[in-house]
Amino acid sequence: MEFLFAIMIGTLYGCSLYLLLRRSIVKLAIGLILLGNGANLLIFSAGGLVRGRPPLVPEDATSVPAPYADPLPQALILTAIVISFGVLVFAVALIYRTYRALATDDLDDLTATDRLGEVPEAAHQPVVPVGVSASNSQDGR
């Protein structure tokens, strides 16, 4: 099973990186989700695979009978799942706004703010997005 997990983790990481490297901004978001899942699985499998023994204290005992699945990675992953969901929601909202303001989903068009000595064009005159009325064009500020 460990080998299968390793293949699965590698696949998730590889696919997520491929999506992160795409120019389409939506694929970036999907890539983020895959990356989160891959990382969670890596942590999970690092704790060791123990099938069907959750870390619970039975009614008639005061400690968890061995063997049991490692609770620590689980606690970490639980946090990570929730956080990566938060990140995803934020990313989607950001993508939505960017798209509305700049009318492009091509990351290669979104390089202006990082260029040396050039004032980003969008700071001067917001591009009117396709299919959005002119009154919306101040969104980008």
Binding site: S45, T79, Y96
Partner: protein, 773 residues
């Protein structure tokens, strides 16, 4: 000591409020506090002379062996007297000089901060403390030089002074730490009593060179002297205080302080003599043709600083003239700057050729200036005369002509500068020279008093003698024989030499109108231009210029390279670094795969199917051409993952994963309706390139995941949690208890992150709303 430091520091930090409230009167308060400190230090004189050092100590970083320890001996007392005494006069001077200046509170903060840190620097007994104060004086000097921050040159020169002195400060830090480590103590007084190792270790030599570098940058020694004339962008009281009387002497203080440790190092004498003479000559030569009063005085300060280093290089014999010249120079150069500032303040002119006739139009000002000139020129019976005689006597009696001649030339240059100060008083008054109203009391007390002290110093040799003896005791690290100090030596060779210097300097000063144009042609009378001509092409400042432009070019190139705006480049760099780090750390960990592999979990058919679904769905999201297909594949992936979690003993994870995945799918379905299409934008070569990189990453991570199984660390925190969960936390679900009890603060952080993300989303969505209304 600690109290005086704290008092001055407190005043510095209270200045923004107090100065705004008291306006001009704050200057009197600052002068009073500073003067009070001066009196306290003056009262310590008998104790210190009697050989009793004052020590004060507070623990600071005990684990690192550093303490807030202060020590008062002859050397630090002399400096403390100069710092607080001249500080009081300068504070008084500022009242008139920066009358009604709108940013006065800021000025006071910087100036008082400087006074505090400078005082701390000379009192510090711990070398770490000394370094901290050293750097703080550089920082406050930066703020003071750049005080007129609306002028680009003030900003540039402040930056230059900061970079030169702080770069030297870094060298100094390394040097001091090396020295402390070699000698095994961070306390100056212990280092001093230890003396030096014979023969010196290589590390001590390195430490000496680094410390010398730090001292040379701070005290404007050749070839770092250029920052000092440029620092004249500061208001004149600052030039008088920091850049002639006190701060620039910090390097010299340090060299004098470390003389007992490093003085016997074979490189000490040759390096200090060469450095000192070069600086003294450069300063003197560059001073004479200057037209600007402040640049004139700045170059002569450079020359004097060189002389002081030279005297330290002479070893024990040079200490007495060193101490005398240190005091005399601080008095007359501080006074000269203050007088020059007063002249500038009333005439609004600063160039020598545009001034004249002040003897008649402003007799009191002229009197104060003339008094300072007497001292600076070294005329009897002033302290200037006493110190110059001491130096010349030593020089004529013991020095070889090779050393004596440059020293005499430097003195001719410095004396010429003194004579040149008479030009504004005696030269024919140029037309249209109007005098403006000035706060005479504030402007003239400083130069008058400094001049009078230097004048009276020639007669009151007894307290001076004991102070000098105390300085010699600390610099030589031993009790000296009684100090011989007399005003009149009779007609000696030294006296003759002195007269010769005065005469030749007078001649040069008389023909100055012919010398200054030569300086103009050589381009040494103006600040170094962007494209230097004449001698400017050879100026050491060129090195600074090209270094700075190289730094800027490098920053430009590397920013273009790394911060190019393409997200995929950033991702590639990050991932490539991660891959490299993982490979390197696995290889370097020295772990080997155990010979019989640890038992593996047996493959279960259902699990295998789930893993297969996850793998297939990952590829589907990558290959999908429709957004909905990708979202559906993500859903399948997430739910299979949840099932896997459930089967491997993580019911909580399974629940959370199901919840979050449902939400994700719902969110994406709704959001994607408004999001751009699932486009294929990259070219085929780019896709192949990314696929290769992605495969490499996947393989590395897969292998890493596998290795983790083999190298598992036996001792786990989890067993503690599993044992304590019921006993300590009264829970039965270990994962839950970890989240809400053992690591509850982490969960609080998590909630905060989510809250912030929600706020961010709300803000992003609200931006559009407002515009639409």
């Amino acid at each position: 000591m600690g109290v005086s430091l704290a008092l001055l520091g407190l005043l510095a930090f209270a200045a923004p409020w107090l100065a705004a409230r008291l306006q001009q009167r704050f200057g009197y308060l600052a002068a009073l506090v500073s003067g009070g400190t001066f009196v306290w230090f003056a009262l310590q004189l008998p104790h210190v002379v009697g050989g009793a050092e004052r020590l004060e100590e507070l623990p600071w970083l005990p684990t690192l062996g550093t303490t807030l320890s202060l020590r008062l001996d002859g050397l630090s007392l002399t400096f403390a007297l100069l710092i607080t005494g001249i500080g009081a006069l300068v504070a008084l001077y500022v009242v008139g000089y920066l009358e009604n200046h709108p940013r006065l509170p800021r000025f006071w903060t910087s100036l008082l901060l400087f006074e505090t840190t400078m005082l701390g620097l000379v009192l510090a007994d711990d070398i770490v403390l000394l370094f901290v104060f050293w750097e703080l004086t550089s920082v406050s000097s930066f703020f003071l030089i750049g005080f007129a921050d609306e002028r680009p040159r003030a900003r540039a020169n402040a930056q230059q002074a900061l970079i030169v002195t702080v770069a030297g400060g870094l060298a100094l830090l390394v040097g001091l730490l090396l020295l402390a480590q070699q000698q095994g103590s961070f306390r100056l007084r212990e280092l001093v009593t230890m003396g030096s190792l014979q023969p010196p270790e290589t590390l001590i030599t390195v430490a000496f060179l680094l410390i010398l570098l730090g001292a040379a940058t701070k005290s404007a020694q050749f070839p770092f002297h250029f920052w000092l004339p440029n620092a004249m962008e500061a208001p004149t009281p600052v030039s008088a205080y920091l850049h002639s009387a006190t701060m620039v002497k910090a390097g010299i203080y340090l060299l004098a302080r470390l003389h007992p440790v490093l003085g016997s190092h074979p490189w000490w004498q040759p390096s200090l003599l060469t450095l000192g003479l070069l600086t003294a000559l450069t300063g003197a030569a560059l001073a004479i043709p200057q037209r600007d009063l402040k640049r004139l005085l700045a170059y002569s300060t450079v020359s004097a600083l060189g002389t002081l280093v030279f005297l330290l290089g002479l070893g024990d014999a040079g200490v007495k003239p060193f101490a005398l010249f240190l005091i005399a120079h601080a008095l007359y150069k501080g006074g000269a700057f203050l007088a020059a500032g007063a002249i500038e303040h009333v005439t609004e002119r600063r160039t020598l050729d545009a001034l004249g006739g002040l003897w008649r139009t402003a007799p009191v000002l002229a009197g104060a200036t003339g008094l300072v000139v007497l001292v600076a020129a070294g005329l009897p019976p002033t302290l200037g005369f006493v110190s110059k005689e001491a130096i010349l006597e030593l020089g004529v009696e013991t020095l070889s002509p090779l050393l004596l001649l440059p020293l005499l030339l430097a003195f001719v240059g410095q004396t010429t500068v003194a004579w040149l100060l008479l030009r504004p008083l005696l030269a024919r008054p140029p037309e249209s020279l109007h005098l403006h109203h000035a706060h005479w009391f504030s402007l003239l007390t400083g130069p008058m008093l400094l001049g009078l002290i230097a004048l009276g110093g020639g007669f009151a040799l007894d307290p001076l003698r004991s102070l000098i003896a105390a300085v010699i005791a600390s610099v030589q690290g031993a009790t000296p024989p009684p100090v011989k100090l007399t005003l009149w030596h009779g007609f000696t060779v030294a006296l003759g030499t002195s007269g010769f210097i005065l005469l030749s300097a007078g001649l040069i000063a008389a023909v100055w109108p012919r010398i200054a144009p030569v300086g103009d042609r050589l381009a040494i009378t103006e600040p170094l231009a962007e494209r230097p001509r004449g001698l400017g092409r050879l100026a050491p400042e060129r090195g600074y210029q090209s270094l700075m432009s190289m730094v800027l070019r490098f920053a430009d190139v590397q920013t273009r390279l790394l911060q190019n705006g393409y997200l995929r480049v950033y991702v590639t760099v990050i991932v490539a670094t991660a891959i490299l780090l993982i490979i390197v750390s696995v290889l370097r960990s020295g772990l080997t795969i155990p010979a019989p592999l640890p038992p593996l979990t047996i493959v279960d058919l259902l699990d295998a199917v789930l893993v297969l679904i996850i793998i297939v769905s990952s590829f589907v999201t990558v290959r999908a051409t429709e957004r909905l297909v990708a979202v559906a594949a993500l859903g399948a992936l997430g739910f299979s993952l949840a099932l896997l979690y459930a089967r491997y003993g993580a019911p909580d994870l399974a629940l959370t994963q199901v919840l979050v995945d449902t939400l994700t799918v719902v969110l994406l379905v709704f959001a994607f309706y408004r999001l751009p299409r699932y486009a294929q934008l990259s070219s085929t070569p780019a896709r192949i390139r990314d696929a290769v990189l992605a495969t490499a990453f996947g393989v590395v991570m897969g292998v890493f995941a596998l290795l983790v199984h083999f190298f598992r660390y036996p001792e786990r925190i989890s067993s503690y949690f599993a044992e304590q969960v019921y006993e300590a936390a009264h829970g039965r679900n270990v994962v839950n208890v970890i989240l809400v009890d053992f690591r509850a603060l982490d969960t609080l952080g998590e909630i905060t992150v989510l809250g912030l993300a929600a706020l961010g989303v709300a803000a992003l969505l609200a931006v559009g709303k407002g515009a639409r209304d």
